[in-house]
């Protein structure tokens, strides 16, 4: 069914393939930039991935102005301001984020600070508050999960006011996303599994949540297919560049989908589990996905059922039967990934304590994703899911 009204955008040039990283200086040049600030984290730098990035500048007319490799897993306004200061002090003219969601979001926010000439991000919270053209920005993901390389959203923590700040603007899209399998080869099996489940959650929730539309649906289905076809191979043989590239593309498609269709209760609770119990986002999504789908059976069962052929679920019986088969297919996948990588399948295994449930539920109902969930997200509903997923 076509929605009464929808909007869709994705303004990111996608450069994907073996040795795609070699095109970084060329893409910078096209954007009129020649001196990059690399934003990354210690894990990425420690894995030797920044050396790979440095190597592609040899013989080009572009250079690295500075490298910021201190991005924490949950970045903050303090870090963003440090990055923005480094950008200005080192006279850089473009941002290159190399990493997962945190590095990419940090670079997006630092770009806001530099462009708007402010260190007060509070006043840009919300949607479409950025009016000035931003500095060139290239994202090179090193995980296949967050999709942040193709979204217009950034989330960081405000150290001063102790708030999670969310920004949405078409100006936050990176100009270019470079997917090179070399950048994901070093991901350990458990992180490969968790980030792939993160991407699968983006695609599945994006497909059944309220802002779905025909264009985002197409991306979601494409994403699901590539993720399911390649995630287990990537875990079994992390050096399989073709599987890694396909999985990265699956995560990218899922990212384009959810950036437009948004996500629902799985993300609401996962964000809250991250904030309260420090559960990594991909892991929380992985655990909660079947429970979130189950929560929406009454309101969106027929839509979930449409995913049966793509999730490898039975297409027999009523739409409710097929929707339930989809949930079972996700549970079967969880079990296989647990056997292959040790990825937890319950909140207790992920370190969540029962006494944290109330705080998680309170945070979940205040999470923006709740708006897009077909079923109402209340404290009681979230508590029910937490108890089941424990």
């Amino acid at each position: 069914m076509i929605p009464q009204y929808y909007e869709f955008s994705c303004q990111v040039k996608i450069v994907s393939g073996l040795k795609a990283l070699q095109n970084l200086p060329y893409e910078m040049d096209l954007l009129g930039a020649h001196r990059a600030l690399i934003v990354t984290d210690q894990g990425v730098a420690g894995a030797g991935l920044i050396k790979l990035v440095e190597s592609v500048f040899t013989g080009s007319n572009c250079e690295i102005g500075a490298i910021f490799d201190q991005t924490p897993p949950d970045s903050s306004s303090k870090v963003v301001n440090q990055v923005a200061k480094l950008f200005s002090n080192e006279r850089c003219d473009c941002f290159v984020a190399v990493g997962g969601g945190s590095s990419i979001d940090t670079a997006k926010c630092a770009n806001m600070v530099v462009t708007e000439g402010t260190d007060d991000l509070l006043k840009f919270q919300g949607a479409e508050r950025l009016k000035k053209p931003m500095k060139p920005f290239i994202a090179i993901p090193t995980t296949a999960g967050t999709g942040s390389e193709v979204t217009m959203v950034a989330v960081i923590y405000d150290d001063v006011n102790h708030l999670k700040l969310a920004f949405t603007s078409i100006r936050l899209y990176p100009n270019v996303a470079i997917l090179d399998p070399k950048m994901t080869l070093t991901m350990p099996p458990k992180i490969t599994a968790a980030t792939a489940m993160d991407a699968l959650t983006h695609a599945v929730e994006g497909y059944y949540c309220l802002q779905k539309n025909p264009v985002s649906d197409a991306f979601a289905i494409g994403g699901i297919k590539l993720i399911l076809e390649n995630v287990e191979q990537c875990i079994k043989n992390g050096q399989d560049e073709n599987a890694r590239l396909a999985l990265a593309n699956g995560a990218l498609l899922a990212g384009i989908s959810f950036a437009n269709s948004m996500v629902g209760i799985v993300h609401s609770i996962a964000h809250a589990c991250g904030g309260v119990a420090r559960v990594p986002h991909g892991l929380a999504n992985s655990i909660l996905l079947p429970w979130g789908m189950e929560n929406n059976l009454e309101k969106a069962g027929a839509v979930i059922a449409e995913l049966a052929p793509y999730l490898g679920a039975s297409t027999k019986g009523s739409s409710l039967d097929q929707a339930k088969a989809c949930i079972q297919a996700v549970r079967d996948l969880q079990k296989r990934l647990k056997d292959l990588s040790g990825l937890p399948t319950t909140l207790s295994e992920a370190g969540v304590k029962k006494e944290q449930f109330e705080a998680i539920a309170k945070a979940a109902v205040n999470d923006g994703s709740a708006t897009y969930n077909p079923e109402d997200v209340t404290i009681e509903v979230v508590m029910g899911i937490l108890n089941k997923a424990f």
């Binding site: 919300g126 708030l163 109902v365 708006t371």
Partner: protein
């Protein structure tokens, strides 16, 4: 030749939205004074929070403030709000204000945008849903709520009170 919007239809829409905003403001005041579920929702809000609802680019707007345990109408326009809920145009605003779609659907369909903190917007959204349950006829509940509320006798009594007093309350706010 480019077609131009009829000034009359624009004025009609503007009047509908203006009146709806004033009705919402009046209902917010009454419901926050008397409805226990609204008081429970407001308990977590910091005192003095100002929020506005308005229509872009220069359409009607109102500002409301939490004072103590109640919501008070501050007047038309933007009174230095911490958070704004902005409809992209009059047509986008008319839909939720006339019960054709829920306010959450206005966000879902990107007819409305938020300037401010998402967590606080979620609180305001829940409070607006409570107000709408007293302001809107039960007939449209299935269109505007994910789970239409079933009002208790006490809530129905309060709804009758809102209905009885909303006209004069709007009238009093016209010049504020």
């Amino acid at each position: 030749m480019t077609a131009q919007k009829s000034p009359i239809s624009y004025q009609v829409k503007k009047t509908v939205v203006e009146t709806s905003l004033l009705a919402l403001a009046a209902a917010f005041e009454i419901v926050s004074r008397h409805a226990p579920e609204m008081k429970a929702e407001l308990a977590d809000w910091e005192d003095g929070r100002i929020f506005s609802l308005g229509v872009l680019p220069n359409g009607p707007a109102i500002s409301l403030q939490k004072k103590g345990s109640e919501i008070h109408y501050l007047g038309k326009g933007y009174h230095n709000p911490k958070l704004k809920i902005l409809f992209k145009n009059l047509d986008a605003a008319i839909l939720p204000f006339t019960g054709q779609i829920g306010s959450h659907i206005a966000f879902v369909q990107r007819r409305a945008i938020l300037h401010g903190n998402v967590g606080e917007a979620m609180q305001i959204s829940r409070a607006m849903a409570i107000v709408q349950s007293y302001l809107m006829p039960g007939l449209v509940f299935s269109k505007i709520f994910k789970r239409p509320p079933k009002l208790t006798p006490a809530q129905l009594f309060l709804k009758a009170r809102v209905m009885a007093t909303i006209g004069p309350a709007i009238f009093m706010k016209i010049w504020k």
